[in-house]
C-alpha cells in the first residue's frame, strides 16, 4: 500500500559551491500529515522551494513525482495549478484589503471580465466555515490577529482546490490557543482528504500531529519516522536533527553570585499612542549585577515593547513610573542616552532593525560606538579593523573576511555580529531579544557560552525568549509577562515549563 501523492527522488541543489541539498528523498502518502524537521540551514525551506517551483526545473537534480506524474515546474503558478499550495511564515496578505479580497487575490471571480464581489463574499463565507473562522468576510485583514490571518491563508489555499498544503512554521508566531486551533484544523482537513506537509521547530506539535516525520540534516535525509510504529519521539527526532545529546545544549555557569541592583523599574507603564493602549502596564522588576533575567511570555505579551521603553524610549511611548539605573533615577530621551548609561539592546529582528545588511562586518560592529574609534570626528579605520578582528575571534564569527557584507552571513553569524556590535559599547546591562531565534543548535550553544562569559565579567543580561527550554536553561530568575503586565516572578529552581505557560496564558 503505497499511494504516494508526492515523491521527491534524489533531489540535489547547489548554491554556488555550497550543497544545500544532496540526494534528498522525501515521500508523502496521500491523506497524511507529514512533518519536516531539521535545524536551520538543514535544507527544509530549500526543499520546499524546489517543490513549489521557486527554483525552476533544471536548476536542481532529481525528480518530483506528484500524483503519479513527473512534474517540471518552471515557475510558482505551475505548482499551484496541480494543487500544491505553500503558506510561508511571513504571511502574504494585504492588510488594507478585506478578507474576501485577500482570499480571491489573483484568482478573482469574474463575469465577462467584471469582478463579481458578491459571489466572492458568498464563497468566502463557505471557505471561512471550512477553516472554522468566524469573521465577516468584509473585515480588513489588519483588524485580525496573526492566528486568524494564518487561517485566512489556508482559506485562500482551499479556494484553489489544493491537494497538498505546505505550511512553513505555521505556529511560530501563534500563541498556544491559536496553535492548537490550527493543528485541529489540519486534522479536520486531513479528514477531507487534504494532505499536509508542515515544517516545524516545535517538537511537541510534531509529536502531537504528525503521521510521519522526516528529519533533514545538512541537506540530507536522516530518516522518516512513523507515528503508527511509535517512532516519533522527542529523543528520536533530536538525535537525528543534531546528532548530539539534548543534555548539553545549555552550558553551565559556575559563578552564581549577584551584586547590587543594576536596573529597577517602579510602576513603569508605556503608552503607545498609535495603538491607543498601554503596551506595558505597572511593571515592577529589577535586575542584579551578574544575573541573567529570563523574560518569558508569548508573542505580543509586550516584552519587546518593555525592552524598547527602557532602551531610551526607542518607540516614543508615553512613559510613566520610574526607571533606576545603578540606583540613580534615569530619564532617557534618545537611544543614545541609554547607550551612554550602559544599556544595550540586541533586537529580535536582525535583518529588519538590527543590522546594516549592505555594510560590511566591521562597519556593523563599530556602528554603535564610532566615538570609541574616532578622534575629532574622524574614524580611525585601523582601530576599527582591530576591533572587528577581535570580536570575530572572540565570538567565532565564521567569515572569510571582516569586509564581508552582513547580509551575506548566516543567521547565527549575523547574530554574533549584532552581539559584537553591542559588546563593543561595553554595556553594563545587555537586553537580548530572542537571541537565538532562527539559529541552529551549534550557534545557539556558542551564544549561550558568550552570555555566560559576559556574566562572569560582571555584566547583567535580560533575555527575552519564547523558547521555554532556553528560559529555563539559562536564567537565574524569570519574569513572566502577558498583556503588558508582569504576571509572575520565580527563581530558576522554582520555574518549570508548566508554571510559566500557566502565567503566560492567563
Amino acid at each position: 500500500m503505497s499511494d504516494y501523492i508526492l515523491e521527491m527522488n534524489q533531489i540535489s541543489k547547489e548554491f554556488t559551491g555550497v550543497k544545500a541539498l544532496s540526494n534528498v528523498n522525501f515521500k508523502v502518502q496521500r491523506g497524511e500529515i507529514h512533518c519536516l524537521v531539521g535545524e536551520n540551514g538543514a535544507g527544509k525551506s530549500t526543499l520546499m522551494k524546489v517543490l513549489s517551483g521557486v527554483y525552476p526545473f533544471g536548476n536542481y537534480d532529481g525528480d518530483i513525482v506528484f500524483n503519479g506524474e513527473v512534474q517540471k515546474f518552471n515557475k510558482i503558478p505551475d505548482s499551484v495549478d496541480v494543487g500544491i499550495a505553500i503558506i510561508y511564515q511571513e504571511l502574504a496578505l494585504f492588510p488594507d484589503l478585506a478578507v474576501y479580497e485577500n482570499i480571491f487575490i489573483n484568482n478573482e471571480i469574474q463575469k465577462g471580465g467584471i469582478l463579481d464581489w458578491n459571489e466572492a463574499i458568498v464563497q468566502s463565507k463557505d471557505l471561512l466555515e471550512k477553516v472554522k473562522l468566524k469573521v465577516n468576510p468584509e473585515t480588513l485583514i489588519k483588524e485580525l490577529g496573526v492566528g486568524k490571518q494564518q487561517l485566512i491563508e489556508i482559506a485562500k489555499a482551499l479556494s484553489k482546490e489544493v491537494k497538498l498544503l505546505i505550511l512553513d512554521e505555521p505556529t511560530a508566531a501563534l500563541n498556544e490557543d491559536d496553535s492548537e486551533n490550527l493543528l485541529n484544523l489540519l486534522r479536520a482537513l486531513k479528514e477531507q482528504g487534504i494532505t499536509s506537509i508542515m515544517i516545524s521547530h516545535k517538537l511537541k506539535e510534531v509529536i502531537a500531529i504528525a503521521d510521519k516525520a522526516t528529519v533533514l540534516r545538512d541537506g540530507e535525509t536522516m530518516c522518516t519516522l512513523d507515528a503508527s510504529k511509535g517512532e516519533i519521539t522527542e529523543a528520536a527526532i533530536i538525535k537525528n536533527m543534531v546528532g548530539r545529546d539534548i543534555g548539553n545544549i545549555y552550558p553551565k555557569r559556575s559563578n552564581k553570585e549577584f551584586g547590587e541592583k543594576i536596573l529597577e523599574l517602579i510602576n513603569w507603564s508605556a503608552y503607545d499612542s498609535t495603538l491607543g493602549r498601554n503596551v506595558a502596564k505597572d511593571v515592577n522588576i529589577h535586575v542584579n549585577r551578574g544575573e541573567i533575567i529570563g523574560l518569558a511570555g508569548l508573542m505580543g505579551a509586550g516584552r519587546t515593547e518593555l525592552a524598547q521603553s527602557i532602551f531610551g524610549n526607542a518607540k516614543n511611548y508615553k512613559l510613566q513610573g520610574d526607571l533606576f539605573v545603578e540606583g540613580m533615577i534615569a530619564y532617557y530621551k534618545h537611544t543614545s542616552d541609554a547607550i551612554k548609561a550602559g544599556i544595550a539592546y540586541v533586537t529580535e529582528d536582525r535583518k529588519g532593525n538590527g543590522l546594516f545588511l549592505l555594510q560590511d562586518i566591521k562597519q556593523n560592529i563599530s556602528a554603535g560606538n564610532l566615538k570609541g574609534i574616532s578622534s575629532n570626528g574622524i574614524v580611525n579605520e585601523n582601530e576599527e579593523i582591530k576591533v572587528a578582528e577581535e570580536y570575530r575571534a572572540s565570538l567565532g564569527i565564521k567569515t572569510p573576511s571582516i569586509l564581508q557584507m552582513a547580509g551575506n552571513l548566516s543567521g547565527g553569524n549575523q547574530q554574533k555580529v549584532s552581539l559584537g556590535k553591542w559588546l563593543f559599547v561595553s554595556p553594563k546591562l545587555l537586553i537580548l531579544d530572542e537571541p537565538t531565534r532562527g539559529i541552529d543548535v551549534g550557534a545557539k550553544f556558542e551564544i549561550y557560552s558568550v552570555m555566560n562569559e559576559l556574566i562572569d565579567k560582571g555584566m547583567s543580561i535580560i533575555m527575552i525568549s519564547s523558547e521555554l527550554g532556553e528560559i529555563l536553561g539559562m536564567s537565574d530568575r524569570v519574569y513572566v509577562m502577558a498583556e503588558g503586565e508582569i504576571k509572575g516572578e520565580m527563581s530558576a529552581e522554582e520555574a518549570s515549563q508548566e508554571k510559566i505557560m500557566q502565567l503566560a496564558t492567563q
Binding site: 529588519g352 555594510q359 556602528a367 578582528e389
Partner: protein, 390 residues
C-alpha cells in the same frame, strides 16, 4: 599573461565602481572620433568642465539626500533664487566677499527648513520639496519681475564662472600653476594609494599584485596628467574646476572618513537599526538637507557667475539634471549606497553628452532622448551588477 587575467578579475569584481569611468572613457573617445578630435581640444574640455560645475555640486548634495532615502525637488529653483539674491546684493553695493557667505548661509537656512519639515514634522520629502519647488519658483519671479534679467558686473564674482587661476608664468605656452596643481594631485594620489595598500597588507586583506598595482597607478596618473596638460594648454584650471575639486575633496572626506559620514550611510541603509544604534536620525536628516541647501546656493552662485547675470528662469530643471547625474553616478534609490566621486562623474557624463552632441550639431530633441537612454542604461547596469553580486 597573468597580468591580463588579473586585470580582468579586478575589473569584474569592481565593475560597478569602474563601469561609470569606462562609460565616460568610451563616450569621450567616441565623440573625439566623431568630431575629428575637436571634442578633446583644450578649449572644449575646459568649457565642458565649467558647464558641468553647477550641476555637479547639486549632484553631490542630492546624492546624499537620496542615500538617506529622501529626495529634494526644490534645489533647482532654490539655486536660481539664491543666484538672483547674490546678483541683487552685488547690485546694492555689498562687497562680494560678504555676498558669498550670506548666500551660502541663506542656502543652509533654506535647506534646514526642508530638513525640519521632513525630519520633525514628518512630511514626505517629495511633497515638502515639491512645495519648495513652487515657492522658490515664485520667489525667483518676484525678485526679478520688475527688473527682468539682473546683470552682474563684479569681476571677482564673475571669475567664479568664467575665470582661471593665475598662471605665475607660462612654460612653452602652458599654464604653470595648473601644471603644478596637476602634479600635486598625482603625488597625492600615489601617496594615498600606496598607504592604503600598505594598510590593507598589514591586516592581511586581499590586495592586487604589485605589477597590477603599479599599472593602476600609472593609468590613473596618466589620465590626471593628460587632463592637466589639456587644461594647461588653454587658460589653465578654471575657478569652477577648483570649486568642484574642493567640494569633492571635502565631501569625499566627510562621507568616507568621519563619524558623521558613517552615520549618514547607516541611516540610509537601515533607519530603524540606526535609531536603535543610538544614531540621531533626525539630526542626520537635518544635516543632509542643510548641506543640500548650501550646495544649492553654491550652484546658484556658479550659474549666475557663468551667465554674468541672474535671469527669471535660472534653475529650471537643475534638480532633475542633478538627480539624473546622481543616478548615473551609481546612487541607489533604496538608500545607503552612493559615492561623492560617482555623483560628480555622473554630472560630467551628462555634460559630456550635451557638449559632444552640440559639437556634432545633434538637434535638441534627439539630445534629450539620448540622455534619457543613457540614464536608463546606467540604472539598468547598476541593478544588474547588484543582482549578480547578491
Amino acid at each position: 599573461m597573468n597580468l591580463l587575467k588579473e586585470a580582468k578579475q579586478v575589473i569584474k569584481h569592481n565593475i560597478r565602481d569602474y563601469g561609470m569611468y569606462i562609460a565616460l572613457f568610451v563616450i569621450m573617445i567616441t565623440f573625439s572620433i566623431l568630431t575629428d578630435g575637436l571634442f578633446m581640444s583644450s578649449r572644449n574640455i575646459s568649457n565642458l568642465l565649467d558647464s558641468a560645475g553647477y550641476i555637479a555640486v547639486l549632484a553631490v548634495g542630492v546624492m546624499l539626500v537620496i542615500v538617506i532615502r529622501h529626495i529634494d525637488l526644490s534645489i533647482g529653483f532654490l539655486a536660481g533664487f539664491l543666484g538672483a539674491i547674490s546678483a541683487i546684493l552685488l547690485l546694492n553695493g555689498i562687497p562680494v566677499y560678504i555676498v558669498f557667505p550670506i548666500v551660502l548661509i541663506l542656502g543652509i537656512v533654506a535647506g534646514s527648513i526642508t530638513g525640519f519639515l521632513v525630519a520633525k514634522v514628518g512630511i514626505p520629502a517629495f511633497v515638502a520639496t515639491l512645495a519648495g519647488w513652487l515657492i522658490y519658483r515664485g520667489a525667483i519671479l518676484s525678485v526679478t519681475e520688475r527688473s527682468g534679467t539682473i546683470n552682474v558686473d563684479n569681476d571677482v564674482f564673475n571669475a567664479i564662472g568664467n575665470g582661471y587661476i593665475p598662471s605665475i608664468m607660462e612654460i612653452g605656452g602652458l599654464h604653470l600653476l595648473s601644471l603644478l596643481v596637476g602634479l600635486v594631485g598625482i603625488l597625492l594620489y600615489i601617496y594615498s594609494a600606496i598607504s592604503n595598500r600598505r594598510n590593507k597588507m598589514k591586516y592581511n586583506f586581499e590586495v592586487v599584485s604589485k605589477q597590477m598595482f603599479i599599472l593602476q597607478i600609472a593609468f590613473v596618473s596618466t589620465i590626471i596628467a593628460y587632463f592637466t596638460w589639456l587644461l594647461a594648454g588653454y587658460n589653465g584650471i578654471s575657478w569652477t574646476v577648483v570649486i568642484i575639486l574642493l567640494v569633492v575633496i571635502v565631501y569625499h572626506f566627510v562621507t568616507t572618513k568621519t563619524v558623521i559620514g558613517r552615520h549618514i550611510y547607516a541611516v540610509g541603509s537601515n533607519p530603524e537599526a540606526a535609531h536603535l544604534s543610538g544614531i540621531n536620525v533626525s539630526k542626520i536628516t537635518f544635516l543632509v538637507f542643510g548641506s543640500m541647501g548650501m550646495l544649492s546656493a553654491l550652484s546658484g552662485i556658479l550659474f549666475t557667475a557663468r551667465l554674468q547675470a541672474a535671469t527669471t528662469t535660472a534653475g529650471t530643471l537643475f534638480e532633475l539634471d542633478a538627480i539624473a547625474a546622481a543616478f548615473v553616478g551609481g546612487v541607489s534609490a533604496a538608500g545607503g549606497v552612493g559615492k561623492v566621486t560617482g555623483a560628480v562623474i555622473g554630472a560630467i557624463v551628462m555634460a559630456t553628452l550635451t557638449n559632444g552632441m552640440n559639437l556634432m550639431g545633434v538637434g535638441i530633441a534627439p539630445q534629450y532622448m539620448i540622455r534619457g537612454g543613457v540614464l536608463a542604461l546606467a540604472v539598468i547596469f547598476d541593478v544588474m551588477t547588484r543582482r549578480q553580486k547578491a
